[in-house]
Assembly symmetry: C3
Homo-oligomer: 354 residues x 3
């Protein structure tokens, strides 16, 4: 790809030699000749060996003597767009490994890659161009769309449905039973972990016979678990990205274009609307609702039933970021406050006995 073509592709302004050939992307300092790098802010010391640099439109590039420069409004985005072209997802061609165990009633689309030691259950369908890497296990009546990429060891339980262009990383488990039990004693429920309960009854599984629906363009990180609905469905909206080791409970509804970082846990029936950004290790109680556009910081805790409005939130229980910061400042000042009170007591002749 010539620098000129890259500039056209990302809608940027070319400065310098447009004929230089670019074969791959790299970081600014590690780039070598033939590579394109990017900077997000104006570049004072352009010490890069990259042949092409993507920079912000307001960057002063007069000092970039030997490097071709492409100026764009969002260099990081342009860089990612170029990377997607220069480093396309590895495409494994049509193949069905001899070791694969495929039900006779499965429906396999064109150009599907089926790796070694895979299992495909009855009435399961796989869309065109999808890749099932080694060790992928699909239950019965599973539907997988087109151009999906399932990494090694992914397991999808009976009846779950996956859209197009979905990426599931290694070890992902979709559709295991949700965590719901009823205690064999009057009026107690295992789900009400905050309520005292009677001792001695056995736990009977509440039916976990729903399903999971994952919409188009979702990506789910390694070893993440998405439980099936108890009676209805668990759903992950189009374009949502979920990191590694995340827990998505039964009947959770996640909207479109959400981003959820690693090790976050979402309890049953919680709703996260569109365009939310959730940090890592966040915990959601059941039946919470996060309104569209809300941002929740890492390690936050959302109580059961809580409604989180748009804005930035942090802490356990979650508070608006401003309040959380103010409270933390107050906390830092507690020692001082205590001294002040002691001094006031002394002045008023109370003495100080603490």
């Amino acid at each position: 790809m010539k620098a000129r073509e890259i500039a056209e592709f990302v809608g940027g302004e070319l400065r310098g030699d447009g004929d230089v050939e670019i074969t791959s992307v790299a970081g600014l300092t590690s780039a070598i000749a033939g590579q394109v790098a990017f900077v997000e802010k104006d570049l004072e010391h352009p010490e890069t060996a990259a042949s092409c640099l993507i920079v912000p439109t307001d960057a002063d590039t007069s000092h970039a003597n030997h490097t071709t420069v492409i100026a764009v409004s969002n260099p990081r985005l342009a860089f990612a767009q170029v990377a997607a072209v220069l480093h396309p997802r590895k495409r494994r061609g049509a193949e069905s490994h001899t070791t694969a165990v495929i039900s006779k009633t499965a429906r396999i689309g064109a150009n599907v890659f089926i790796g070694a030691f895979t299992c495909i259950g009855d009435e399961t369908s796989i869309g065109e161009g999808t890749q099932l890497r080694a060790g992928v296990m699909l239950g019965d009546n599973v539907q997988i769309g087109n151009d999906c990429l399932l990494h090694p060891g992914v397991f999808i339980e009976d009846g779950c449905s996956i859209g197009d262009n979905v990426v599931l990383h290694a070890g992902v488990v979709i559709g295991a039973d949700g965590f719901g039990y009823v205690r064999d004693a009057p009026d107690t429920s295992a789900e009400a972990a905050a309520t005292p309960h009677q001792v001695g009854g056995e736990y009977l599984k509440f039916p976990q016979i729903g399903t999971v629906v994952i919409e188009n363009n979702v990506e789910i990180g390694a070893n993440t678990c998405v439980d099936r609905g108890a009676l209805g469905e668990t759903r992950i909206g189009a374009g949502t990205k979920i990191d590694n080791l995340v827990q998505v409970g039964h009947n959770v509804q996640i909207g479109k274009r959400c981003v959820i970082a690693a090790q976050t846990g979402i309890s049953g029936s919680t709703v996260i609307e569109d365009d939310c950004v959730i940090g890592g290790q966040v915990g959601f109680g059941d039946h919470a609702r996060v309104k569209s556009g809300a941002i929740i910081g890492s390690q936050a805790g959302v109580l059961p039933g809580k409604i989180v409005r748009p804005g930035v939130w942090w802490g356990t229980p979650v508070q608006p970021l401003d309040e959380f910061k103010r409270q933390n400042a107050h906390l830092k000042g507690l020692g001082r406050l205590r001294s002040d009170v002691r001094e006031l007591k002394r002045k008023l002749g109370q003495g100080s006995d603490d």
Copy 2:
């Protein structure tokens, strides 16, 4: 199953047509004809198409014209009991897939299902009616009881023992080494993370040669890990239910009928007695003890060696729920308290310099 039979089965009072045929369970709003649903509280607007409704005994069902009603003391429990009959666990019959790799010294009971790409080690025994789904790996000298269900990709290390009717979800790892090391420098221990230590010594593995015992009727969620004992055993008591992505450290003892939600971590040698309920993302330091019947809220933190008495606990470090709430209320009032102190200082002529 006729409504009459359901009423008898759950010990409920039948109101309406007992001959209606019920084939499956469903949620109240999504149910259709031929299904049974339930409500936990009195039903003001019984807008359901279910043919049968399980309701509390005190419910006014005079308005339920067309729906057969069954009144019971605990509708959720009755519903779960009916679901267990109408939606029994999928039973895979006696089969040993041709791809399975089974030691000649393994002992396989009657009616055992052995899926594709499974491994069964030397001297390992599998009880009657147990199902090993695809990709299950069992080490040597593993004992599995009757009627267990091991989902795809479960791994059980050498020497571990599993009771009857145990369900292990996909990706569960039982019996990996516990996390114990000794630093090759005098008097320091990797386990004492809270103590300063000397720099430079290598970590030598403390022996992790114990085992894991999982008693009857335990269910363990996807990708959860239960480490083997260092010298003794790690044990999970009968009827205990553990959610996804939970970490159970070496030598942990979990009692009977406990419920432990997702992403909780339990450090080495901690004891959780019978009938405890533990929320999600809770962390337990090592050598803690949770007394029978205690309830610990999500994201709580239990310090090493802490004894948690019966009652409801929350926060880090855990406190009785009442104290935790009071402290949170105090926190919310800190800004006000600070203003008050400033005003007092002003009145006493100290001025305010903060």
Copy 3:
């Protein structure tokens, strides 16, 4: 191994019969004849059936009538050293299971064990004496050193590099894509979870084309994930030990001889220098730096970009342990403080209206 040989091996002082034969290690109370146990403190009631006891040098062993005693400065270390000899890692000999799928271009060293249902990709190399247990999947261009042990179901993605004597427990995922996206809207980034963002744009993957390097003598716990670098590498230093269910983000650099407990999550580009000890469920924001020798308590939270100096740290956000304890004490005293202020207000004639 005779007690005398053990004493020599650990550099300890033998007291009693040096000829007693020891075949295995055990805990103090469960040990039987022929076993060696240890105590860390002086033993008042030496109620053990062990034939040999490792004790601290200052222990009074005059009452240990029938037990051979070995006195050392660090009994736990000596015990671990003896255990490593008496209970060596199970060594599976040279074997390549008939079901293994091995690329013709893979390079397999001498005495390598290749279990059932394994996959080894193109140009991948496996060092001498390494064991790949059942279901291990290696991508292309993976390099594995000598004497490694990869437990069942481990997956290593293309291009990653593993040193010598590395142990990866079941379900470990090395080299999956890091979690980095760019929103298709000006000047917004999915990584800046703390900044408000525009609604509506799709997330495009930031290139995740780097690699993972794991140095010698590293051990990684079950179901832990180590993501590949975005452009550069993710690196885990020699001798570092990582527990189960840990998340290591892209471009994270972990130094040598670190210990990281279960369920901790480390965001992108964070650096943990040598000889750090990290508790369980700790969360690290991106681009943080933990200086060599720092100790961070469980459930702590390290803000993005934070520099953590040597010392002991706890809390969210992390503080020096002393400050954290002082703040907790202040918190406990808040109710008292509030009463004091109310009393002061009353004395000054303000009344009390809260």
